[in-house]
């Protein structure tokens, strides 16, 4: 059970790291227009 005292704080840190990754993605505008990427293959140029 003692391992919990390591794992639970670790999971908190992990969540914060993942949030950092998401922030990076949102900040670079990857979710701005989700339709556009799907339509891109229909474009010739």
């Amino acid at each position: 059970m003692d391992i919990l005292f390591l794992l639970v704080p670790f999971s908190v840190v992990l969540v914060l790291v993942i949030l950092g990754g998401l922030w990076w993605a949102v900040d670079r505008g990857q979710f701005e227009d989700v339709d556009r990427e799907g339509e891109r293959i229909l474009n010739n140029d």
Binding site: M1, L4, F5, V8, P9, S11, V12, V15, I18, L19, L22, W23, V26, D27, G29, F31, E32
Partner: protein, 762 residues
Amino acid sequence: MDAVLSLPPSAALPDDGVALDDPAEWPAFGHALDGGRWESQVVVEGMHCAACAFTVEAALCAVPGVLRADVNAASRRARVLWSADAVRPSRWFAASAAAGYRLVPAGDLQARVRRAREGRAALWRWLVAGFCMMQVMMYAYPAYIAQPGEMTADAVQLMRWASWVLTLPVVLFSCGPFFRSAWRDLQQRRIGMDLPVALGMAIVFVVSTAGTFDPEGPLGHEVYFDSLTMFVFFLLTGRWLETRLRGRTAGALEALMNRVPDSIERLSADGSFQRVAVRRLAVGDVIRVRPGEAFPADGLLIDGHTTADEALLTGESRPVPRGRGERVLAGSHNLSAVVQLRIESVGQGTRFAQIVALMESASTGKPRLARLADRVAKPFLLGVLAAAALAAVLWWPAGPGQALMVAVAVLIVTCPCALSLATPAAMLASAGALARGGVLVHDLQALEALATVDTVVFDKTGTLTRDTPRLDRVYCREGLRPGDAVELAAALGAQSLHPVARALVRAWEQEHRTPPDWLALDLREQAGQGLEGHLQRRGSNAMPLHVRLGSAAHCGVEALPIDAPQLHLSDGHGWVASFVLAEELRADAAAAVAALKAQGIAVQLLSGDRTAAAREVAARVGIAQVQGDCTPEDKLRTLQHLQAEGRRVAMVGDGLNDGPVLAAAHASFALGNAVPLAQARADFIVMGSALSAVPEAIAQARRTLKIVRQNLAWAAGYNALCVPLALAGWLPAWLAGIGMAASSLLVVLNAARLARAAGAAA
């Protein structure tokens, strides 16, 4: 490609007041009215609800020199009427910013950029809330399933600590907008729609924090981190979807506005094409438009043959072929080939700009039902706060922690947003759908009136029949060829908007590629009578010919003894020619009348034309009640008579000659492309030539009113049901969060059906 991209420094408005106060920048986001007054369109930032709209209005109206401010919560746009003598725009921009809402000039690049940034921040808040919520659930789970004594006190405390750490970013970051807007409202001593929610969030967080760090304290040892993160997540989900949907339903406007490109290739003096900003174009410039690009200005094709997509401008969904010498419209798309055109009008002068101006004014107007919802919003919010306080007091004996949680449920579950969004969301969605089908809504209020219409009165000329009659026969003076007579008449008629004059111009254009070889000088038009002016052959120095074109009386000649519309041409020596015209019925006139009858609507025809001609047309389209020989006064009297009988009347006319009649009807349609949009005084403007747009618009209006009623009933019913449930303590906070988010979402989704229904029908 050696094209140079050059944007003028003024392409985007700088934010500082100096540029705002430069009169040269004002037309970029508004237009001048008489008497030094200006009407400006601005985008309001940070606005969520009807209560916000009220605040901005009040702040703007408090500035001396601002005559009127209309703020629309659903489109987040404001229309401000101000006097240039008394105030500068920077003053009222500052006043609104002081109230907590920044203004951005509409029709401006910056507004779009800033909206994208706002959207990104909202998405990011939502992601943080969602992610932290999932993890907090994990930490909460053991406490729910563990039997008493199974978890050590240390483990329980560890989980609470972890939950608290992950709830912090949710409260501090994700809930930011709720707290900020509630705080702003408190500072201004008013109640906004975010206040109850923010209060609820703060209470839950305080109770749970106390439970974590001071389990023996007065607020009890229970924690609600899972409920808190969950309802924040639901609220943000609701708001995020709502913003997207609202953006889409009100988006016909945006779709129109974004049609004109930013830059285009212009022919320069040395014969090469250079890419310049569209704002630099002037009348007479020659530009090259590639397939896939939109035309930036109205103009005449001088080289190339293509097809154009004018769907948003005329409602004609099929691509139309356009060859040399034909007109193209700004905002339509060039589909198939590279073409060159000479610009005839730019910027505000284009038909496209007129359409946008119309749509803007419609989307900032506030329908009656929406104003009603605004009025009840404030007492409603006060009632919610009172109910929450009452709940806390009633439940206090059960323990302060539980009492506060019941109060929180009351605060969160009420949904004033659904009430205030119910009407404008539906009407804007409908206006957008109608615009895509080729009908512009001048005034949202008119949708309500149109839904209740039971009688439709048609005008004949230009309405049931085509705008322009067809030239049937020509009689002319000996020694003159009929073609020459038509050329003379077309040269004069080109200067007039009258349908009969246009018929002559069209007759000429059908035979010839070039304009008539005559120049019209000092032309005068006598409304309803005819034209008078001088004609001179191009490049010749001969004495100009004095001519008159119009009715027999106007020209001082004898009318032909036949029963048909006719037009005469005379000069200094008397009669020159007579033109006999024939009227053409619109192709879908009979079908439209039948569709109206199928909707249970009585159809009548009022015409200024001779009774016999009116009867004949009526018989062909299937209208039984006809009245001919009407002066505009007669029409007005007939209309008022119908209204006195208790009928709800919609009038369909050409929008130019029957202005007073259109204005007096409950709802009015103006038809035909001949009319400059800005002059059309009608609630609805049919951009194409399809008469079937009238029954379709009525069906759409009926659907709209039905949806508005559903929305209002839902909003009222939901609140009436949920507040007592929350008071009774049957609604936990997380369920309340789902309820509120789902309620406002349902209203917007229901409204969005209107956009889809019309799309499927068109």
